[in-house]
Assembly symmetry: C2
Homo-oligomer: 206 residues x 2
């Protein structure tokens, strides 16, 4: 595509580098920014730069944070006896938005993946052990993806902590809300039969 | 939605202000920026700011430009006897990308729209007259949208220049390439019959 201005072309190239944004959409976004007041464009680009410069990782749970201790770790209202292990801080956002979990998190920063050369020492597993040794938890919840990498990571941590006096649980696997039985994959349907729950407890959960 | 960091929330709010970007997409874009090196995020946000700060309008044709005279006006290879009147510099980009026009442009900066309170004096019409008086053109092409506002603007300019020694043309109206006859609207189909072209000339255009 031809652009009347090198500056617009640069901006389009940058916007088109974002996931899911093609060059036509990037041009539309660039022109919509161009129509704004200079101060609003400044606010826009500063917000992106500030996000990158000023966010850090929580020193306790490795969640992304503006401060040394993240919002979850520093909230006294959170249940300090529950710890939920996730791969990525995006999983924290997803779980927080369910409003169903009021404990603490531990962000591993990835999953063990021999294919990608990611071993246990590349993840925040040692600091998880340190937390389990020094803090008092009643339950640890594995909230890792049901993939080979996720299962490997779950099992690696499980072997390290199975002798601790702590309840070890993982997210329920089953049919998604609103899903059709006939279109559910075999593995999931099989799991949901094995792990069937009492009908009365499914009523109570509503 | 809940965000672990005020900075991320700010960035998401800014990204979600772009057209067609919802909050979920904005979060995905923000996190993709967050994963990049700081220098790349800096380049990204600087490109947007530089675009806003350093683009100006061509002093001759009012197209968007990095310099006083835009790329089209300053190219000696362009046909200096053809002038194409468009409403917006985005139309220039669209026409340039057809690779079918090698003349000059004049960007009006909008269309006459009594409903929106936009009159002829709000547009770059006087500078178009000045160009037609001082420069030598063989043909002026109206490339304005086939809407009431576009037709009004066309007619307004036509009345001012109809006594000049210049060929006045407008974009062909007809059936779009690949369109079905049965789904073409009445007005367009009617126009395409009135303005039918010799079959041999349609062959030559291929």
């Amino acid at each position: 595509m031809l652009y009347p201005s090198k500056r617009i072309e640069d901006a389009v190239n940058q916007l088109a580098s974002l996931p899911g944004i093609g060059r036509k959409t990037a041009l539309r976004l660039a022109l919509s920014l161009l129509k704004r007041d200079a101060s609003r464009v400044k606010d826009f680009s500063e917000a992106l730069m500030l996000m990158k410069e000023n966010t850090c990782f929580c020193s306790r749970c490795h969640n992304i944070s503006d401060t040394n201790l993240c919002l979850v770790c520093s909230a006294p209202s959170r249940d300090q006896s529950l710890i939920c292990v996730v791969a990525d801080f995006r999983d924290v956002i997803a779980i927080e938005n369910t409003h169903s979990f009021y404990g603490l998190y531990h962000v591993l920063g990835g999953l063990i993946s021999p294919m990608d050369g990611i071993g246990p020492s590349d993840l925040n597993i040692e600091s998880l052990m340190e937390r389990l040794r020094t803090e008092e938890y009643a339950e640890i919840i594995f909230a890792l993806a049901p993939t080979p990498d996720g299962d490997t990571t779950n099992f690696f941590i499980y072997r390290k902590i199975k002798d601790y006096n702590i309840r070890i649980s993982s997210l329920a696997r089953g049919i998604a809300i609103g899903e059709d039985i006939e279109y559910t994959d075999q593995a999931t349907l099989g799991k949901s039969l094995q792990n069937r729950i009492l009908y009365e407890s499914s009523l109570a959960a509503k």
